[in-house]
Amino acid sequence: MNPTRRSFMKVGSGAIVATALGFDVKTAYAQAQELKIAKTTETRSTCPYCAVACGVIIHTLGDKAKNVTAQVVHVEGDPDCPTNRGTLCPKGSSLYHDILNDRRLLRPEVRHPGSDRWEPIPWDQAFEEIGRHIKSARDESFVATDARGRTVNRCENIAFIGGCTDTNEFNYLVVKTMRSLGLAFIENQARV
């Protein structure tokens, strides 16, 4: 997406190496530079950490191949973003390890009442059970009118708490769904 910048880096680095070592490794060095991101797809994203919200570029390989899942090979600051101008802090610089991380949760699980372990549960069953939990709790204590007869239409025994890297569009879907259930307890990292 930004050949000028990359060409500049290649030429600049090659020249320095050639001088220092006394022989021309320019071609080999340029090759090494190319290997990492030359054929990648660049996707513009935003760092999920602090509210500077630095622009980042995620480099992936394999996007266009049939039956291949894109692989992230590199993450860097977006030099076009006016706020961070390509820089990243120690957290942003480690985003690659956040995306490709062997601690990621990969399947839905349930811990049954009284149990001491997580057990896998199919998605459909999880949605079925959670839907039932919500309906039962809501029906159990829904407050249509208060003691003075005023309409309140409130569900007070379920709470929703949202995080700091939920997108705005997701947060709007939260308002839509949870307020329609009558939830009064809707809170977010924004409070604390």
Binding site: A51, N84, T87, I99, R103, I130, N157, C164, A184
Partner: protein, 813 residues
């Protein structure tokens, strides 16, 4: 932020307090350094710790955690005493000239007029302006009495002067621990931008959660805003009051009403007393309150247009004039349902189910053990996250025996959601910029996009209600859900819904001026109307040109409202509409065109000529900045008053009999304990973040864990010597609620302070660790949570807990 990250480069003076951007917002902090390098701007840092921000400053002042209002009140007093104020700005753009009615009393004894001891609340009817002509009690008068000489003893200016006359340099020293001479040097430096009343220079105030997380946090920020109004710094390039928010989309979460008391776009949630839509609107739509000779745009007079458009977005044809726009579909509240109350109600057995999406409530606290004990009483818990974390694993938290685990009857679902690289949609940064991001890869394994998980849960509930009936289900069945993929709504479609459209033509609206209150428009969030027009997504724009050189970047992303990058920017000009500083002109009045034009989008009525004297603060009913905040604006006073933190080593030097904020909420379960010096809790403790870590997230990232592998407690050298602690020793910190163990990091960065003649130590603890993470799982840490120490005490306005400045004991293990 009233301004933005890049705008910081335009400043001449920075007061950074309650924040540590060099470490916590490193890539934004470059603009502070840019201002120092390019403009020779000065930087004052006031913080309990000598942070890396302090290390780059021109002046560092060490303060006791929680004493900020005393410091800022002292600076206000200094500015007035030395006439370092923006007179023209003050008279015309603030309510300094307004008169306050008789019967209002300042808090010399710690209480404003109207306090009720039994209910611990204020009757705020006396906190009002004086009316000219008739007026209704508890309502802002339509025609306000005023005195442009500012000499009337009941003018806001004179009351301000009187209020802070008690905040002398000697008093500031007693409360904050800042030696008088040092304080005077800082006050002199900051107010020097307004030397001899010259308006050319601009100063900014920059803060973060070091200000919000107090039982009087809102009033600290009020004090900063008042100081900035007094100096004429709001609305100007390089000025403003700038909250450095802590998370990538926390501004967006606030805008989108992820909070119990609001609806999208800062509309107020209906109360039980609003018997219908009109009553709700009557209560929440302000009418202009100003001297008759002045003009006020009072933009919130359009509230009904925003509210009807929201209800149309939510309920489509089911919201119509006949059913009061489906007003009854919205829940009505009559009490506080904020964060800490969720856990309190759950602890009391009232909240049975919790849905947590990317939110680790146990680690965040406050008083984490109470939250764990609360979850033990819940029936079900649904956690959607990307890593194993403390909340979903509460049933095997440290200290819980296998027998206890068996007794915990909570059913817990742990659902794998998507990480940032896997999601598209917008984030709003601290500068109010909406920036679209694109998904780079699909979620790993069987993980799903968060919107799919939420939608499928909702659609399942809807299906059950459709089949079986149940409690009031009209809003559930009638909620609009016209997405091309119902079970996984494309976020571009949601973003368009947020912007809103004309319901007859189906066209995307160009901006919120097009919203109607007759049901002909819909908009999910009025302040974002204009973000996805017929021209496409404004948030996806990537032209980083900056023609003015002021860091406005008008075609990069989109800033709410209506792409205005500096809020209240009409105040960057004098009364006649001419910029205070031509070299940093944001907007100006063009007499030829008879309109406001400029480098930024005018945050003002574009055709209001200067002679009409319309106030620049168009979101206030007064049209001007509120130095005095009348009536119900704040729960604890129209001016900030210094109160001690809920747990404090000393009594309040201003009014020892009324030490703490009289209206701050506390809780009363057996888990809600509060410590005093008499119980041996004598050390002030504060919490903070590290550059290398992010909340409770990066403890799963091997690179961040390598950078800072384990928790520590930052301890002053002198205190360490008193207790025989060396760097690397294991120490235990104990509050009235719990204990925390980590290694000692003995430091010169926090020095002992003298507070009202008493020697006081402060310590600091990073928040980042817990009982799930790379190091935690390997058994290399004590697996304790910093927030197990923090108290359940809330700011009465923002309901934010007092995470900063509580009392602890310290010992070597």
């Amino acid at each position: 932020m009233t301004n933005g990250w890049v705008d910081i480069k335009n400043t001449d003076m920075m007061l950074i307090m309650g924040g540590n951007p060099a470490e916590n917002h490193p890539c934004g902090f470059k603009w502070a350094i840019e201002a120092k390098r390019q403009r020779n701007a000065k930087m004052i840092v006031v913080d309990p710790r000598h942070t890396r921000t302090a290390a780059t400053s021109d002046m560092y002042v060490q303060i006791r955690a929680g004493a900020d209002i005393a410091f800022l009140g002292g600076v206000i007093r200094y500015a007035i005493e030395n006439q370092r104020i923006a007179k023209e700005y003050l008279v015309n753009f603030t309510n300094a000239a307004f008169l306050v009615q008789e019967g209002f009393k300042l808090p010399e004894d710690g209480l404003y007029s109207g306090f009720d001891e039994a209910s611990k609340t204020y009757d705020r009817s006396s906190w009002n302006y004086e009316a000219r002509g008739s007026s209704t009690p508890n309502t802002l008068p339509g025609n306000v009495a005023f005195d442009v000489t500012l000499e009337h003893p009941r003018s806001v200016y004179q009351l301000l002067k009187q209020q802070y006359s008690r905040y002398t340099p000697e008093m500031v020293e007693r409360i904050t621990g800042i030696p008088k001479d040092e304080f005077l040097k800082a006050a002199d430096l900051f107010t020097s931008v307004r030397k001899d009343g010259d308006m050319k220079k601009a100063a900014t105030i920059i803060y973060a959660v070091g200000w919000t997380q107090h039982s009087f946090g809102t009033q600290i920020i009020r004090a900063a805003a008042m100081l900035q109004l007094l100096l004429g710094n709001v609305g100007r390039a390089g000025g403003g009051v700038n909250a450095l928010r802590g998370h990538s989309n926390i501004q967006g979460a606030t805008d989108m009403a992820g909070l119990y008391d609001s609806l999208p776009g800062y509309l107020k949630i209906p109360s039980v007393d609003d018997k219908d839509f009109d009553a709700w609107m009557k209560r929440t739509t302000p009418t202009a309150s100003k001297p008759a000779e002045w003009d006020s745009f009072n933009y919130y007079s359009n509230t009904p247009k925003f509210a009807v458009s929201l209800l149309k977005a939510l309920y489509g044809p089911a919201a119509n004039k006949e059913n009061s726009w489906a007003f009854d579909y919205l829940p009505k509240i009559d009490r506080e349902y904020s964060w800490t109350h969720i856990w309190d109600d759950m602890y009391e057995g009232k909240v049975k189910g919790l849905l947590a999406f990317g939110m680790n409530g146990v680690a965040i606290g406050p008083n984490s053990q109470k939250n764990i004990d609360a979850l033990k009483k819940a029936k079900f818990l649904v956690v959607c996250d990307i890593y194993p974390e403390e909340t979903s694993d509460f049933w095997r938290a440290p200290g819980i025996t296998p027998e206890e685990t068996k007794a915990i009857q909570t059913e817990v679902y742990r659902l794998p959601g998507a990480g940032f690289a896997e999601k598209d949609g917008t984030f709003v940064n601290s500068a109010r910029w909406l920036q679209w991001k694109w998904a780079a890869v699909p979620p790993p394994g069987d993980a799903k996009l968060d919107q799919e998980i939420l939608s499928r849960i909702f659609l399942k509930v809807r299906e059950l209600y459709r089949k079986e009936g149940g409690a009031f289900h009209d809003p559930i069945l009638n909620l609009t859900w016209n997405y091309s993929i119902a079970e996984n709504p494309p976020l571009s479609e949601v973003a368009k819904e947020l912007n809103g459209r004309a319901l007859d033509t189906g066209q995307q609206l160009p901006g919120f001026a097009a919203l109607k209150d007759d049901g002909s428009t819909s908009s999910g969030n009025w302040i974002w109307c204009g973000s996805w027009t017929e021209a496409g997504s404004m948030a996806q724009r990537r032209d980083n040109a900056d023609p003015s050189g002021l860091g406005i970047h008008p075609n990069w992303g989109w800033a709410w409202p209506m792409n205005r990058r500096v809020l209240y920017n009409r105040a960057s000009c004098d009364v006649s509409g001419k910029p205070w500083d031509q070299s940093r002109a944001l907007v100006w009045w063009n007499e030829g065109q008879k309109k406001w034009v400029g480098n930024d989008v005018p945050d003002f009525k574009p055709d209001s000529p200067p002679e009409d004297h319309m106030g620049p603060f168009i979101m206030n009913a007064e049209g001007v900045g509120r130095i005095f905040a009348p009536l119900g604006a704040f729960a604890d006073g129209p001016f900030p008053e210094f109160y001690e933190p809920a747990e404090s080593p000393v009594e309040n030097a201003l009014h020892p009999k009324r030490s703490k904020n009289p209206v701050a909420s506390r809780f009363s379960t057996p888990m809600d304990k509060y410590g005093t010096p008499a119980d041996g809790f004598t050390i002030v403790c504060t919490t903070y973040r590290l550059t290398e870590h992010y909340h409770y997230w990066t403890k799963n990232n091997p690179m961040n864990v390598q950078l800072v592998p384990e928790p520590f407690v930052e301890i002053p050298v002198q205190l360490a010597a008193d207790l025989g602690i060396k760097g690397g020793d294991k120490v235990k910190v104990t509050s009235a609620r719990a204990s925390y163990q980590a290694k000692a990091m003995v430091t010169h960065r926090i020095k002992p302070m003298t507070i009202d003649g008493k020697k006081v130590y402060q310590i600091g603890i990073p928040i980042h660790y817990g009982y799930r993470g790379i190091q935690e799982d390997a058994g290399r840490t004590a697996r304790s949570l910093t927030n197990s120490l923090t108290p359940t005490v809330l700011d009465p306005n923002a309901h934010t807990p007092e995470f900063k400045g509580f009392l602890v004991k310290l010992e070597k293990v």
